[in-house]
Each structure stands twice: as structure tokens, then as C-alpha cells.
Symmetry: C2
Subunit: 217 residues, 2 copies
DNA sequence: GTCTATAAACAGATAGAC
DNA sequence: GTCTATCTGTTTATAGAC
């Protein structure tokens, strides 16, 4: 599992990580290639050499982020669903949503990735396509399957798809509006205690939605 | 109620509306003042004359959007809450959330404003401060009051604040990821029928959350 | 108030030395 | 592979004619 990187690979990775950070903080268009090279302690020419140009670096960032998300969150999605009872499915879904909450809101190392993804989601283009196909869609399908099993409804139905979007949407929003939400909650920092309380609440909300769809209309 | 605008005022408003549209579509940094002047059929110099520069135009856009949101959505927030029963409070909240959904997702004229606000929300700065103080915070406080009345809980408690953020967060998310969500739902367009079904679901989810907080922990 | 010309700074891409 | 110098186009801001 050791991976001794060559000098060139170090430069590549450092450029990508610096770019993800700056793209996430300021947005793709607001960041110059000079800023990225400076943060990575590389020269401007290296971006053209390694990635062909700024758009190529953007794609490389997307690939890097997707690989990271899948390796971090992927394990939560492997449990086979054969013969799962509704209660099991709910428990499995709550566990996965909890992992997603921690990745999305708490894990400090992932915050640059998350901010990068959020910004790209607002910009229809090649990167948002990659994010959808390689991450959002598989995650959503998995949650639909579990939501369907937990409520006894068709996992492919519109109602289930919309409900699942609401489940993940609430989590997204706490990241989008994080600074404003923290102010409203009188939180100076979002430390481990705060994120723990928050994640528990969000998981509970998923349970409330499952309960509502399990019962009536 | 008529408001005959002078020539200069027409230029001002046209510039602001063009800027909101372009800022929303591409982001503040990706739009040049030339693009804005072209779309407004004005000359570049007029931006400096009327707003002092690009940042001044951005502020003017924020003011314009906030005024529009408040006049469109404000009426839903006026009903006095004295002696409201829990059922009344829930009905009132569902009505207001429904109005918010329609503004945020369905109303075609408001889509430029919504996209502008979403992008600014991701950028901590002067504009996001204005949006928070003049729109998000008042709306959130109103919903917390109603949620507290509907569930019998303290409207100022952390749990209520978080629950309300989840309620509005789900709505936000359907706008943030709209193109990807439409694809997942196999919707070619988000027309009146689709938005109607969607808004009804989102209102229902709010009811589910109220029910959960009304009952147990 | 409107419009044009221009300045000064900055962008991304590239050629070539090492 | 790395780094520097430079090219070409574009940015915002401004000065001044009308």
C-alpha cells in the first residue's frame, strides 16, 4: 500500500490539491493559474506541462475528488440488501446517511473537496457531469433502494426519489449556508460536539420521513 | 402605483437586471462588465457612472434581489401568531413553505434572482451578509416561531432551529442540483405539473418533521 | 447622461534555456 | 521535468468628447 511518488508525481498531486482548495474557496473563474502555482510552490509552466492548461487541471481535480469520495464513503454502500427487513433497511440507511453527514460536515480533511463539489454542482458542465455519474447517481440509487425497502414502496418511484433528494438535500444545505447557519445557532466554531449533535438530528429527520412514507399517502 | 422611470433610471434598472441574470448564470467573477453592458444595450462607461464600478453593481444587484424577494414572499409572513393552535401553526407554516417552494422552484421570473442568491451564499462577503440579515434570518425566525407553536417546543431552541434549516434546506437543494435531479427523475422540463407535484411533496415532508418533533425525543 | 478611446494591470498559453 | 521570459488577448477603470 506504500506509494513512493516520483518528483513529477509529487508536483502533479500538489498542484491538484492546491487547485481544489482554491477553486473551492473562490470559484474556478476567480482563481488564476499563478495563484495555484504559487500555493503549490511550483512554476506556472508546470500546469501546461502536466494538464495541458487550466481546464485540464479542473478535470484532474474532479477525478481526484471523486476518487477520494468513493474511497472514503464507498464502504458504507457495500452491504448486500438481500432479505433485508424494513427495520434493517432503515438502520442501514441511517448508518449511511450518518457517514455522509460526517464526511460532508465534520471531517476537516474533506472540506476542500466538499466545497469544490458544491461550486461545480452550480455550474453545468463537464465536471458536474462527472460528479453526477460517478458519485451522486450511485449514492442516490443506493438510498432509494434502502428507502424503498424501509417503507415498502417502489424504489424507482418518483415519490421515493424525491424523498431521498430531501434527505440528502438537508445535509447539503448545512454545508452551503454553513457560515450563516453557525451564526444563527450562535456557534463560534463547528467542533466535534456541534457536528455530533447536528448529524444525530439529520439522521433522525431521515427516520421521520421514512415513518411518514411507511404510514399513509 | 405607476412609476414612470426617467431615462437614467431605465439604464440603471436594465443594467442591474442584466447583471443579476449573468451573475446567476456564470458567477460574479466569470462575467465581464462588457458582457453586462452588451446585454443591457448600454455602454461600458455607464457602469462606472451609475455604480462606481463592478463591486458597486454587485451591491445594487443584492439590494434589488432582496427588495423583490421581500415584496413577493413578504405577504406570507404577516399573519399574527397570537392564540394560534398547533394545528393552525402547522397549516400556516405549510402555506408559507409552499409559497417559498413556488418562488424558489416554479416561478419563472424569480429564477434569475434565485440563482444569484445561491451563488452569493457560497461566497462569504458583503452580499451574503445582506442576504442573511434582510431575508434568510427573518424567514428562519418566522418558521422557527411557527414550528415551535406546532410542536410545543421552544422556538429558540437549537433543535427547532436545526429542524427548520432542514425544512428549507431540502427546498434549496432542489434548486442547487436542479439539472441533475431532473435527469434522475426523467423530467425533460420542470413544468407546472412537475413543480406542483414536487412542492406538494416538500410541504408534506415538513409535516412529517413536525409530527416527529411533536411526538417523542 | 451617454458614449468612445485608452491606460494599466492581469489573464492563460507558449517557446526555449537549463 | 523545471523554470523563466514573453506573447496575445482581456480585464476594469478612467479621461474626455459630445
Amino acid at each position: 500500500m506504500e506509494k513512493p511518488l516520483s518528483g513529477a508525481e509529487v508536483t502533479r498531486v500538489t498542484l491538484v490539491e492546491s487547485a481544489i482548495r482554491l477553486f473551492g474557496e473562490r470559484g474556478y473563474d476567480a482563481v488564476s493559474t499563478r495563484d495555484i502555482a504559487d500555493l503549490a510552490a511550483a512554476n506556472i509552466g508546470s500546469i501546461a506541462y502536466h494538464f495541458g492548461g487550466k481546464p485540464g487541471l479542473r478535470r484532474a481535480c474532479a477525478d481526484y475528488v471523486i476518487a477520494n469520495v468513493r474511497s472514503t464513503l464507498g464502504t458504507s454502500f457495500l452491504k448486500p440488501t438481500d432479505n433485508m427487513s424494513p427495520a434493517d433497511a432503515l438502520a442501514c440507511m441511517e448508518h449511511s446517511i450518518g457517514a455522509f453527514c460526517h464526511f460532508w460536515l465534520a471531517n476537516r480533511e474533506s472540506q476542500h473537496f466538499v466545497h469544490f463539489m458544491l461550486r461545480e454542482l452550480l455550474d453545468p458542465g463537464e465536471v458536474s457531469e462527472l460528479l453526477y455519474a460517478n458519485w451522486m447517481k450511485p449514492m442516490h440509487m443506493r438510498f432509494c433502494l434502502l428507502f424503498g425497502l424501509a417503507t415498502g414502496r417502489d424504489p424507482c418511484s418518483e415519490e421515493v426519489k424525491i424523498a431521498v433528494f430531501s434527505c440528502v438535500g438537508q445535509v447539503f444545505h448545512f454545508r452551503v449556508a454553513k457560515p450563516l447557519i453557525m451564526r444563527r445557532l450562535d456557534w463560534d466554531v463547528m467542533g466535534p460536539e456541534e457536528t455530533e449533535r447536528l448529524c444525530k438530528r439529520l439522521v433522525m429527520h431521515v427516520g421521520a420521513l421514512v415513518a411518514a412514507y411507511k404510514g399513509g399517502a
